[in-house]
């Protein structure tokens, strides 16, 4: 596997994310596999932000461990990131902005002094154009040809005035040529692949997948890192015919989604942990009224406001236990945009089939970072059956009829002759309340128990319908990683490194974290030797769930809760200790 990685850094407001994404898109259009990490802080101006675009001729699933080219828009970027450069790497900076006086670059690292501001002044007094010349130089060093870079810039700035586009083309060309005259391309430059690849972040994949699954209504309240789900859907609302409602709070958002679903529209909401907390009571209402709803929780580091722009998998306990009493639910946990697309398609199907809330656990690392997706991996032709499945004017219709599966025929308001009441109170097969004048009367005591059994029985079907655990890698490896959600990415990359070091490992990943098919899980673990649980939270929440549900105890754990994603080298180091 050959790879090359570029990193750009500066202050919030410098345009770092846009710069980095342009580089990532250059690689993806070359047909390379790309992971783009957007590292930022909860400030709009200032601070320190950086973007890393890692490209490879083989699949990459994480940001990787090193960089080859660093474009530093400020001195802090050099101080923070130069140590991550591989030997042979280059630091690009403009000596008009700062000097490297007093900084000793690591051995084998050279500096390219690039007059970005002077180049920008050729075109405009707007200093932001310096980024284009820096990007041009970076492209030269990283092997992104101008015939790839220029269309990226044209697409990126296409909505702006013509002169802005041409300034960017000119400045990037100048930067590229300056670098060609004053530096050597990286020795890690990769040849072009075949077809351009799709590049998307997890939230775009979730929104796209929701629309493909037939979602027509999204209600959401802004919260990092879930907001870009709403942004994508809002930008496509009219062309796709999806109503997007920014609600007054998360309470309203989930209730709107449940109301819309009740009235016959596939609906969802999305949020992060704090907003999810506000949705907890409504989840139970969806469970009790047996109204399908899909809820995305894109986790960030908690507790409370925590680290709003940093990642964590700390909400598993919350999602498992959200809501008073008991009702069936499933929690899907995709690890990358390709899986996120499929997971939300699955979530909508499961929500409809089982008439209960389905949760999709994302996190900042998956939601906001870019990754290449094979076009063939995204099938937009998802079957979307009509929700009007019960014939109107039916005789003796019972909305909550007892059935073998626990799923009852669902009428939609507007259908003649099927009127029913959806009640958050306990109710009988017709939806009549048994919570007040009937409660405690023996006949209705029995009825309550039957109705609980009916709802909870859905879990037995649900557990067979959710995506099962997946083994990856060589069978019979001496060490098996256990992971869920975005952490799977760094584990996969670590497995490649370990394999190259002659240490085969495999992975048991859980695209569904709940419910777990205990027998199947135990059978899977029977095929493992040593295991290492890798999770981004303090207490090993999935490990605990696994033990509770299956009796499988994972004693070796690699837990991370500093807000940063796992890096492959961290996993490699721990694996080497064990194996």
């Amino acid at each position: 596997m050959n790879e090359i990685t570029v990193r750009v850094g500066g202050q919030a407001g410098d345009g770092i994310a846009s710069l980095g994404e342009s580089a990532a898109r250059g690689f993806s259009r070359m047909g390379l596999h790309v992971f783009g990490l957007n590292a930022y802080q909860s400030v709009i101006r200032g601070g320190h932000v950086w973007y890393q675009a890692r490209a490879s001729d083989a699949r990459v699933y994480s940001q990787g461990d090193h960089a080859d080219i660093l474009y530093a828009l400020d001195r802090a970027t050099v101080d923070i990131h130069a140590a991550d450069l591989r030997s042979g790497g280059t630091v690009i900076f403009d000596p008009e902005k700062f000097t490297l006086a007093g900084t000793q670059l690591p051995a084998g690292i050279t500096a390219l002094e690039l007059p970005t501001l002077a180049i920008a002044r050729k075109y405009t007094s707007q200093s932001i154009l310096q980024n284009a010349s820096g990007l041009g130089a970076l492209a030269y060093l990283a092997g992104i040809p101008l015939d790839v870079l220029h269309p990226v810039l044209r697409d990126s700035f296409g909505r702006k005035a013509d002169d802005v586009v041409e300034w960017n083309i000119g400045a990037s060309t100048d930067g590229y040529q300056y670098a060609a005259q004053h530096a050597q391309p990286s020795s890690h430059v990769l040849p072009r692949g075949t077809e351009p690849k799709l590049l998307m972040h997890g939230n775009a994949a979730l929104a796209l997948g929701a629309a493909a699954a037939g979602c027509k209504f999204l209600a959401q309240y802004p919260m990092t890192p879930a907001s870009t789900i709403m942004h994508w859907m809002a930008a496509h609302s009219q062309s796709l015919g999806v109503v997007v409602k920014q609600a007054e709070d998360e309470l309203a958002a989930i209730h709107m989604a449940i109301g819309a679903s009740f009235a016959g529209v596939r609906s969802m909401t999305a949020t992060s942990g704090g907003g999810f907390c506000l949705m907890v009571e409504a989840l139970g209402m969806a469970g009790m009224t047996e109204t399908p709803v899909v809820v995305v929780n894109s986790q960030r580091a908690g507790p409370s406001t925590g680290l709003p722009t940093k990642t964590e998998q700390g909400d598993l306990n919350l999602m498992l236990g959200a809501g008073q009493g008991e009702f069936p639910r499933a929690i899907l946990a995709p690890s990358n945009p390709t899986e996120a697309y499929q997971a939300i398609v699955d979530a909508f199907r499961l929500a409809e089939d089982w008439q209960t809330p389905i949760l999709v656990a994302s996190d900042l690392h998956l939601s906001e970072n870019h990754m290449t997706v094979d076009r063939a991996g995204i099938d937009l032709n998802v079957p979307v059956p009509s929700l009007f499945s019960v014939p109107s004017n039916g005789h003796d219709y019972k909305r909550y009829a007892y059935t073998e599966s626990g799923v009852s025929p669902r009428a939609i308001p507007g259908q003649p002759g099927l009127q029913f009441k959806a009640g958050s109170d306990e109710h009988d097969e017709r939806g009549h309340l048994i919570s007040d004048v009937h409660s405690g009367i023996p006949l209705w005591v029995t009825e309550r128990q039957r109705m609980m059994d009916k709802r909870m029985h859905k879990l037995q079907g649900l557990v067979k319908a959710v995506p099962p655990p997946v083994f990856e890698g060589p069978t019979d490896a001496p060490l098996t990683f256990v992971a869920w959600g975005s952490t799977v990415g760094a584990v996969r990359d670590a497995m490649v490194v370990l394999s190259e070091q002659g240490r085969p490992t495999n992975l048991l990943r859980f695209p569904t974290v709940y419910p777990l098919d205990a027998d199947a899980v135990r059978a899977a673990f029977a095929r493992t030797h040593r295991t290492l649980l890798v999770e981004a939270n303090y207490s090993g929440q999935f490990g605990r769930l696994l033990r509770a549900e299956t009796g499988v105890t994972l004693t070796e754990r690699l837990l991370k809760y500093d807000g940063e994603p796992f890096f492959p080298h961290e996993i490699v180091a721990r694996a080497r200790e064990l194996n």
Partner: protein
């Protein structure tokens, strides 16, 4: 007005559409409860408008009054405390061919649900919201509510309420509601007129109803209101005059106005949400079949 002619599914030809009536569940309210007058008025209003019961959804929250949907033959959603309006909005946006009536109490609407109340009104969602305002928490056996009178002694305020009550009419005017009315469950016919006009109104219609709790509120009784209420339409009030509406909203004491305070015509949320121009969302095509060009933006 919610267009009841836009039916989500074609009714079988020749079958008369059943109008709303009582369901097979009897009300569980205390004998003499004000809510009996409110449900009678809603039934009367909906019947008069000839809205078929399958095209009507009544949404409620939690509290004595929120059991109301169970007692009528329409579709109903009996949700959780304070969330009547977001559920009702979701239903309206999913199918704006349906007539949507939200119901609930003063605690539900002006306490735990106050935020939703304000926002639903500023959006001018085309639905009718009827609050059964008894100025007390009844189902939890008699605590102060957001509309309890200053000084009123309740289980939670044994020395008297020390917070000023919310004025739902003034709050509705301030929030941009386009139909603001107050009724009295002791005058069902008048209340039915207010509800029927509210349902016909193109936009958010708010009808706050004095609906006395005969068990826990010994101050705001039927007699209390009978002695005080007067009808705005008999007093020369011009309901298109916002300033006059404010003046009437602030009246409280020996004379308390009921009737229509304010009415204005503005585009509804559904009018302005362009996706809904193609018809009820529930009947629009869904999914991305054949839209493969959508992926080009990711290249």
């Amino acid at each position: 007005m919610a267009d009841s002619s836009t039916q989500p599914l074609p009714a079988e030809l020749g079958t008369p559409l059943p109008l709303i009536g009582k369901s097979d569940t009897k009300p569980t309210w205390c004998p003499g409860c004000g809510d009996f007058g409110v449900i009678a008025a809603i039934e009367m209003a909906v019947k008069r408008l000839k809205i078929p019961s399958h095209n009507l959804v009544i949404i409620s929250g939690i509290g004595c009054s929120s059991n109301l949907p169970h007692f009528l033959s329409s579709y109903g959603f009996h949700g959780i405390h304070g969330r009547v309006l977001p559920v009702a909005e979701g239903i309206r946006w999913a199918n704006h061919g349906l007539t949507v009536i939200g119901t609930g109490g003063d605690g539900d609407g002006f306490g735990i649900g106050a935020g939703h109340f304000v926002h639903a009104m500023r959006r001018n969602v085309d639905l009718t919201y009827v609050t059964m305002d008894n100025q007390i928490y009844g189902l939890t056996t008699g605590q102060a509510s957001p509309t309890s009178t200053l000084g009123q002694k309740t289980k939670s305020t044994p020395n008297g309420v020390i917070e000023n009550p919310i004025d739902p009419i003034a709050l509705a005017l301030a929030s941009g509601a386009t139909y603001v009315a107050r009724g009295f469950s002791g005058d069902v016919k008048h209340l039915a007129d207010l509800v029927a006009n509210g349902v016909q109104h193109h936009g958010f219609a708010f009808v706050d109803v004095f609906s006395p709790c005969v068990t826990y509120n010994k101050i705001n009784t039927f007699d209390f209101f009978r002695q005080r209420v007067y009808k705005l339409e008999s007093a020369g009030h011009n309901p298109t005059d916002l300033v006059a509406a404010w003046q009437r909203a602030l009246e409280w004491g020996d004379k308390i106005p009921i009737g229509l305070f304010y009415r204005t015509d503005k585009p509804t949320y559904e009018d302005l949400e362009e996706v809904l121009a193609a018809g009820p969302l529930a009947l629009q095509p869904a999914g991305l079949h054949g839209k493969d060009q959508l992926l080009d933006e990711f290249i």
